[in-house]
Subunit: 335 residues, 2 copies
């Protein structure tokens, strides 16, 4: 399990395009209170609108880590980025990365981290071996976001649901299972990087025993309907032992992304498949509602779609970005 | 994918108990034609009843590899075993191991292998990165053995089925997914050692496009009903895209081994779950029969059980060790 030192300084390199800085914008939006400021190379053209501060200034202000919030081309770290990151290490900050390439592959960074006694943290790579799942029922309550496909709002829904539960006065913790989620939460386990035999065991460890009324809101991964990634999805489902699932869906998607021969299932079919699989480790599992990514729908389309779906499934239907997920949080509270 | 050099010399170390030499006995029984002989330390007390020959004699007789057929205590290789294995490397043999500990962790062996240009092969560990599954339908036919639990005959059934298909004149290849299977087949991929995102992709690679009438008989892993290992099972099922499954079962087992809170499902429930999951990548998947590990049943019990089950499921029911699997092979041929 990764545990990061907050607050963060966000690093933007010499990015010119905002789309290359998705991670940084996500952190600004989802954990603004944990971000002191931004830093970039003089040639950089992107800003998050946050206070600009050097690693030294950030460290003096209490920062624990500099987070690489920009995706470099080809996964390599340009020399001048390494200059900046080395300066951050020298200032006493951990360097945190969600890139494929491990930070320790860069000898300068490795040496500087050792010299200063600070850490190079690759949230995409597991830190340790995990135990085989025990299957033992844990105390506390759990909800897992699941999907008809990848990349349609499972992380976003889980984050929104955590906030909505807190707004209702419920105790809730977001549990991150992917790199961006880990950066936002400050801890978590990247499930897709684990050896298959240990995914369920890692999921058990990610959401340990808790107070009876506490909700772990677990970020889902992949989809049971994805021909490549369903294994991760199933291991996470079994290890999470969720009491509830929220199904995430994008109504404009007809087939699994990049798999045109694989149709997106009907929502009732998807709910049934997740509940059947989830019952192995939690007999009481139920679906409390649907989270829709409706960004492609006009307002009237969305309202018609939402009302039709609620009637069809007799479940609340929300878009976290369009009216929020209070209905889903209420359904969880009332469970 | 591991590809081993046959024939083998089987190494028994200084084993005193036959049960410590399960791997060697399995290889003797399942690929006798690929085994030249056995070798052990002078203190060893176990024999396979094969010609005893030194690594030098085996190499002169055409052997390609010495296979560690015995499990050492704690996974470490005693110094005197290393003496024997170093001699085998010097004689020009590859050393093949299914142990957790990597052979390359022993500096003497690493140095000897480099010096002689031969290989240290750990079949439990992946040799390479695998691609993400494509989901593309492949030519040729495939059958996968699946189970109500782990360790109840999936490998044995797949091996027996391969032979039975060949006896019927069908072209068939056993595809190994675990360490012992890989040693028997001389090639394969240890699925449980892979990063979860790549299990389905590795399974696709393991059984590539083939002649339309050719059967790949794929060794199953784990169980969809196992709270820790179902992820591997599902990835292997999706990537294998089997046209047929054979369900393996031990009627004396009431709960998942070592998981007393997890009941073994009814066979009809298990078949249904595997077919539902398998349809994602092969709409035509069907169950052709049941393979029973009936070793705990007396002959009359077995016959009564078999007849009752055939009537209940309207599927052929076999025990590979009690009458063979010709019925299952026939069902595959007639598919």
């Amino acid at each position: 399990m990764h545990v990061l030192r907050k607050p963060y300084l966000l690093y933007l390199g010499d990015a010119v395009l905002k789309t290359d800085c998705k991670t940084a914008f996500g952190l600004r939006d989802w954990c603004r209170g944990d971000v002191l400021g931004e830093w970039s190379h003089p040639q950089g053209r992107v800003t998050l609108g946050l206070p600009r501060m050097s690693p030294q200034e950030a460290a003096a202000g209490g920062a624990g880590s500099i987070v690489i919030g920009v995706a470099p081309t080809g996964g390599q770290l340009p020399e001048h980025w390494q200059d900046d990151l080395e300066a951050a290490l020298e200032a006493g900050l951990d360097v945190v990365s969600g890139l494929h390439t491990r930070l320790a592959a860069f000898a300068r960074l490795r040496a500087a981290a050792e010299r200063r006694g600070v850490r190079l943290i690759d949230v995409r790579h597991p830190t340790r071996e995990f135990p085989v799942a025990s299957g033992r029922k844990r105390s506390g309550k759990r909800v897992l976001t699941v999907g008809t496909d990848c990349a349609l709002g499972k992380k976003y829904t889980a984050l929104a649901l955590t906030r909505a539960l807190e707004t209702l006065g419920e105790a809730a913790t977001f549990r991150a299972t992917g790199q961006t989620g880990i950066l936002i939460a400050g801890s978590g386990i990247a499930m897709d990087a684990l050896v298959a035999d240990f995914v369920a065991g890692a999921a058990e460890m990610l959401s340990p025993d808790n107070q009876p009324d506490h909700w772990d809101v677990i970020e889902g991964q992949g989809s049971l309907f994805h021909p490549a990634y369903a294994a991760v999805t199933l291991g996470l489902l079994h290890g999470s032992q969720p009491d509830a699932i929220v199904l995430c869906h994008d109504p404009t998607r007809r087939t699994i992304e990049e798999y045109p021969d694989y149709p997106i299932p009907a929502l009732a079919v998807a709910i049934d498949a997740y509940l059947r699989a989830g019952r192995l480790t939690n007999k009481a599992i139920r679906c409390v509602g649907i989270s829709i990514n409706s960004s492609e729908l006009a307002e009237t389309e969305w309202q018609a779609y939402r009302i039709g779906l609620e009637r069809e499934l007799t479940l609340p239907v929300c878009d976290p970005l369009r009216g929020g997920v209070a209905l889903l949080a209420g359904a969880l509270r009332d469970l």
